[in-house]
């Protein structure tokens, strides 16, 4: 019994890593057998060496901590605005009429094209970078919140109103929990976007940050650092995913669809 539980646990933890590890092994083999030129794609060991170098010099942690600050600030701002807009547009049709088209239009403007304008508005300081992250995070949260709110069971809402719930209680007891599965999908997506946007944001006069690290390495063709930063992003993706899963498992316990989760 105990051992089978343990097997189950390892299975749950290990299986997701099968594919990434297999890829890593294949890659190392390909480089070692010379099938892939190490100039073109450095071996994992070489990438590790670059990582070690960055890490031990303390440079990496500087990059990380500064990016982390930007990411969190941007997420907080963009996430809240997106959430509020999604909420308002999901609940009130006239608001949706007025705002949705404009939001969908802004959403579609690439950050890269927008940079000159962003510099004009915010200068080259932290504001510009945080603004871009916020903008990137805003839309997935907005779209999914809107969708979640729109699909809250109308019968439950009727029930809530009949039972005398005020707007506030209605929101906390019905709108929000009803929309939560969709909102968490938005959060999951936005946590990824948060890091993604940094790579663009940190082309604006940055000399720290992992977006800077990546783009600078690309510019100077330091392939090992480029690949390392890609791995770093991938790990952040995994991290974001774990956070999202954790939130889901905590907040959606009532939902049979989210039960039996590892």
């Amino acid at each position: 019994m105990k051992s089978s539980r343990w097997t189950e646990w390892t299975w749950g933890k290990a299986v997701p890593w099968v594919l990434p590890v297999a890829l890593l092994v294949a890659w190392q083999t390909a480089v070692e057998t010379g099938w892939l030129s190490s100039r073109v794609l450095p071996a994992p060991t070489a990438v590790m060496a670059a990582a070690w170098h960055l890490g031990s010099s303390g440079e990496l942690w500087q990059h990380l901590s500064i990016s982390f600050g930007r990411a969190v600030a941007g997420f907080a701002i963009g996430g809240s605005i997106g959430f509020l807009l999604g909420l308002v547009n999901g609940v009130f049709r006239p608001a949706e009429r007025l705002l949705d088209t404009s939001i969908q239009m802004i959403r579609n403007i690439p950050h890269l094209a927008m940079i000159p304008l962003v510099i004009l508005w915010f200068g080259i300081g932290e504001e510009a970078k945080v603004f871009l992250v916020a903008l990137g995070v805003l839309f997935p949260i907005y779209v999914n919140t809107w969708h979640g709110i729109r699909n809250v069971d109308a019968g439950l809402l009727e029930m809530g109103r009949v039972y005398g719930l005020g707007p506030w209680a209605l929101f906390w007891r019905i709108w929000l929990p009803g929309a939560l599965p969709a909102i968490l999908v938005g959060v999951r997506y936005a946590l990824g976007i948060m890091w993604l946007t940094l790579i663009v944001a940190e082309t604006i006069a940055a000399d720290r940050g992992i977006g800077y690290l990546a783009m600078n390495a690309r510019e100077f063709m330091q392939t090992d650092v480029v690949v390392f930063s890609i791995l770093l992003y991938a790990l952040f993706g995994k991290l974001a995913d774990s956070i999202a899963r954790f939130l889901e498992s905590r907040l959606l316990r009532w939902n049979v669809n989210y039960q039996h989760r590892p």
Binding site: I119, R218, F220, M221
Partner: protein
Amino acid sequence: QKPSPTKKEEGEVIRIGYQKYGTLNMLKARGDLEQRLKQLGYTVQWSLFPGGPQLLEAMNAGSLDFGHTGEAPPVFAQAAGTPLLYVATTPPSPKAEAILVRRDSSIRTVADLKGKKVALNKGSNVHYLLVQALSKAGLTLSDIRPVYLPPADARAAFEQGSVDAWVIWDPFYAAAEQTGKVRVLADGQGLVANREFFFASRSFAQKHADVVHVILEELKKVGQWANRDPKGVATFLAPELGIDEAALEIASKRRTYGLEPITNEVIAQQQTIADQFYQLGLLPKKIDVNEAVWREAK
């Protein structure tokens, strides 16, 4: 020169990368190269790149046979092991890059830049120019506050007042001058060479030396034309770049077109740049430029 068709595979493709502002662009527009290579049984595939680093990136990946950049990108590419070979260069054009300040700025000399924010493209020609200019004024990079921005962003930051000075090259330099709102603090004269370089990938140069020669010949012709007719160059480039013809004429006049071989002097200049970048910590390792120069097997 007679073609010897037996040697060539029929319809082999020569992949050339070019940028909008440079000699290859004009070569492409004139179409002479295609004509000649067609006789030799080749077709040409042109690929446009937004900048030197991207072009060399493609060459590194084996997607390009021939290309051109300024003087800084190949240094980094070589450090990364890109199989490129310097095949030719142009005469120096030191006047084609400069340090700019706003017209009403209180900064009068390079020495006044101390403690000021200076926008520049990291690891580019102007990075080297700035280092040289500062050292002539008795300063180092750590005495100023460099702000690394690509040209378009730098201009926005410069005009918005986020930075005090801007180190930039042509044609952006000329375009900024045209606005009448900038003052030149110093240009590259006496500081840098500022050449354009032509590269072939190592394997291509080995296999198709003849083609390299053909390209160089054609480049030479284009260069001669450009030198004779800077106005024509401006007229040609204006719609391509979307930059004012007058500005382009200025830019065209202050650079020299043409083709020069990679002499030991040129190699030495490139080596100095590489060593400088290495000292600045931009280059991860020392390189020997000499190793990347095309020397035809006799």
